[in-house]
């Protein structure tokens, strides 16, 4: 089985979809001849032509607006937003239009747009190339939000998104785009949406996160084990609908939970996860659920490593739940 990084896995999924689905269209800034600034669409322009791999004018509202028009018409558009920091000119089209098309038309017009966009910090990109805006979209009824942590899941989840009929925001953790490598089949396969993955089993504390934070949690779990603490690590993979059942099962076993994300803490997705777990697990909880998150500041440039959650901070939170 070949080894791929996340970009190669995404590229492989896109190539499969473009080859098997004549209505599939890729569109975005620099996605054609150049193959995308991160190279995720590399080679697809030559293989499928400029009509189906479209270098669009530089306007996110146009990329998403036209993708919506294609999807409503019956095409299967896969727009790329170059950085999720640049998604906001298309915010109205995404939250008011794409997410609501099926609902407000009484089910007459499904809108199967799958937006791909890199997310997260740690690449020396400063404020406008580092943000994690997932909570804004999870809060939008009608959108599915997916955020893989490794190449195998990236390909399988993306192929799942491309085979269903709802609009999806598929966020790709750019810090580990190339750093995360693993075995990925060349052929098509799917990873089910809405299912979390227990990446490490443990007994005392459940660590919950997604994307680039999964490897941070694993690092923390290994270090915690060295000081005698057993952690279960869960990769959420799909943020909406999220797999609450797996989380509840784990917290019922461990009695403690730490939620980790890069996005700012206040009203971050961790708040929803913690609240959902309190509703179901209060009786078994040995300590308050801890959140390790980005600070409630704009994403910084020089101090980005101070801003982002790391293994030490996760261990601190783990200890707090044990010492409470």
């Amino acid at each position: 089985m070949p080894t791929m990084n996340i970009i190669q896995a995404v590229n492989s999924a896109l190539r499969i979809q473009m080859a098997r689905e004549p209505k599939a269209v890729i569109l975005g800034e620099d996605v054609g001849k150049f193959g995308g600034v991160f190279r995720a669409t590399s080679g697809l322009y030559d293989e499928f032509g400029e009509d189906r791999v479209i270098d669009t004018p530089l306007a996110e509202a146009g990329i998403i607006g036209t993708a919506i028009g294609m999807a409503v018409y019956g095409m299967r558009p896969i727009p790329e937003i170059q950085f999720s920091d640049f998604i906001f000119p298309a915010f109205d089209q995404i939250v008011n239009e794409m997410a609501k098309f099926r609902y407000r038309s009484g089910g007459q017009y499904p809108c199967p747009v799958v937006i791909r966009t890199p997310v997260g910090g740690g690449i020396r990109g400063g404020h406008y190339h580092s943000q994690s805006p997932e909570a804004l979209f999870i809060h939008t009824p009608g959108l599915k939000v997916v955020l893989p942590s490794n190449p195998y899941d990236a390909k399988g989840l993306l192929l799942s998104c491309l085979q269903q009929d709802d609009p999806v925001l598929f966020m790709e953790p750019k810090k580990i785009y190339r750093a995360s490598r693993g075995e990925v089949p060349d052929e098509a396969y799917t990873v089910e949406l809405g299912k979390a993955k227990i990446v490490r089993e443990g007994e005392q504390v459940t660590l919950i996160g997604y994307g680039a934070m999964v490897s941070i949690m694993e690092e923390a779990a290994i270090k915690a084990e060295e000081i005698g603490i057993s952690c279960e690590v869960i990769d959420l993979r799909t943020l909406l609908p999220f797999d609450l059942e797996t989380l509840v099962e784990s917290v019922n076993k461990t009695g403690r939970a730490v939620v980790v994300h890069e996005a700012p803490k206040t009203c971050g997705f961790g708040a929803e996860l913690a609240s959902s777990l309190y509703e179901r697990c209060l009786g078994v909880l040995e300590a308050p659920i801890e959140r390790v998150a980005g600070f409630d500041t704009p994403f910084p440039y020089s101090l980005e490593h101070e801003y982002m959650p790391n293994a030490d901070r996760v261990i601190g939170a783990i200890r707090k739940t044990l010492e409470w």
Binding site: K23, V25, D51, R52, I54, T56, P57, A59, A61, G62, I64, G65, T66, A67, I68, G69, M70, A71, V72, Y73, G74, M75, P77, P89, D92, Q93, N96, E97, F101, R102, Y103, R104, S105, G106, G107, Q108, Y109, P110, P141, G142, K144, Q164, D165, D166, G194, L240, P241, L244, E245
Partner: protein, 370 residues
């Protein structure tokens, strides 16, 4: 290369007396269809009046009349059934022309159990996939890049379909207007943009929307032709739309049409135009009424008479009263529909919330909690 024209004069076919303007390019339309065009416009005028009356009686939350702008709706006449339309909220005639029934129209306004959009949107926000007419959105201009996307899809698919989208002159100030026009120009998408320039965006007059000499002149910047047409002259509106459709089908790309008309009444049932505009302005509109002009033309060709008009109005009035009664008597959609169509399949969290609402609705204890 497409020749870019900066428009100055309005394209016209009929003068205010309903006579063909010398040298005008007259659309080829069969007699029965000419009559149907006028009947549709006249029905819209009547339906608008009845709708506003029931709104004032407190039966409807909201309504928007299109009085004075009925001719612009007829831009859809040259389109084929397999063409697509992205309307704005003031094109009632376009819906009726395509075959949207008065029954569907009234049910949508009442958001009742037979509303095809399941009571999901406020009045005037129709949607009909069997007519290729796409859901109306309240945020203005969002439909513009969407129509372009549909047209790009048509081009990629190798069909000769076209997409048409409507919006007001105020909407030309939105980013989505610029974005959509630019994408269309660059991709040569088979799309027709209809600006209903009715002079007013709620309370703001057109000179506060643009410093350009016309709205059609904006087409120059996007590499497409811009056409200014007398929006109160239904035959001219149809002729320029037919030319644009032909251009689009031939692979020559988009056209911007500015239909110059006038919003005779308020923006909607929620505003009072006397607060922001001189009442002399709508009063002076009379001679420009698109209905008068077309009926004079038809009478001149012995295709219409006052008697026929009376019969038409009686028929539409009766039909309206019939479907109004039915629409009023129907209840709201079933409570379970609140949770349908958010996603293709209902995820666990919505199932859970639906279960809670149904339990609350069925119990005598309203303080039930999930």
């Amino acid at each position: 290369m497409v020749a870019i024209q900066v428009p100055d004069n309005l394209r016209r076919v009929l003068d205010v007396d309903g006579k063909i303007v010398p040298g005008a390019r007259v659309p080829t339309i069969a007699e029965e269809e000419l009559v149907r065009i006028y009947e549709t416009m006249r029905s819209v005028r009547l339906v608008d009046e009845r709708m506003m009356r029931i709104q004032r009686q407190g039966k409807l939350a909201f309504y928007m009349k299109s009085t004075g702008e009925e001719a612009t709706h007829m831009s859809v006449v040259p389109l084929r059934k397999d063409d697509w339309i992205y309307p704005s909220y003031r094109e009632q005639g376009a819906w009726f022309w395509r075959g949207y029934s008065l029954e569907d129209f009234l049910n949508q306004h009442f958001g009742n159990s037979k509303d095809v959009t399941k009571g999901r949107q406020m009045p005037v926000h129709h949607s009909a996939n069997w007519l290729n007419m796409v859901s109306i959105s309240s945020p203005v201009g969002t439909q513009i890049p969407q129509a372009v996307g549909t047209a790009m899809g048509m081009k990629i698919s190798g069909t000769d379909q076209v997409a048409m989208t409507f919006f007001g002159e105020g909407t030309s100030s939105m980013g989505d207007f610029h974005v959509g026009m630019n994408f269309a120009g660059v991709t040569k998408a088979p799309v027709i943009f209809i600006i209903r320039n009715n002079g007013w965006a709620i309370s703001v007059p057109l000179e506060k929307q643009t410093a350009a000499q016309s709205f059609a002149s904006k087409a120059v910047g996007y590499g497409m032709p811009g056409v200014r047409v007398d929006g109160n002259d239904v035959l001219a509106v149809i002729q320029v739309a037919a030319e644009a459709a032909e251009r689009a089908r031939a692979g020559l790309g988009p056209t911007l049409i500015e239909a110059v008309t006038y919003r005779v009444e308020g923006h909607s049932s929620s505003d009072d135009p006397s607060v922001y505009r001189n009442p002399a302005e709508p009063a002076a509109w009379g001679p420009r009424d698109p209905l008068t002009r077309m009926s004079l033309y038809l009478k001149g060709r012995d295709l219409w008479s006052d008697d026929i008009e009376t019969t038409l109005l009686e028929k539409v009035n009766d039909e309206f009263s019939h479907y109004l009664k039915l629409a009023e008597d129907l209840g709201a959609p079933d409570i379970e529909t609140l949770f349908e169509d958010v996603f293709d399949e209902m995820p666990w969290h919505l199932q859970e919330q639906r279960k809670y609402l149904l339990a609350q609705a069925r119990t005598k204890n309203p303080h039930i909690h999930n």
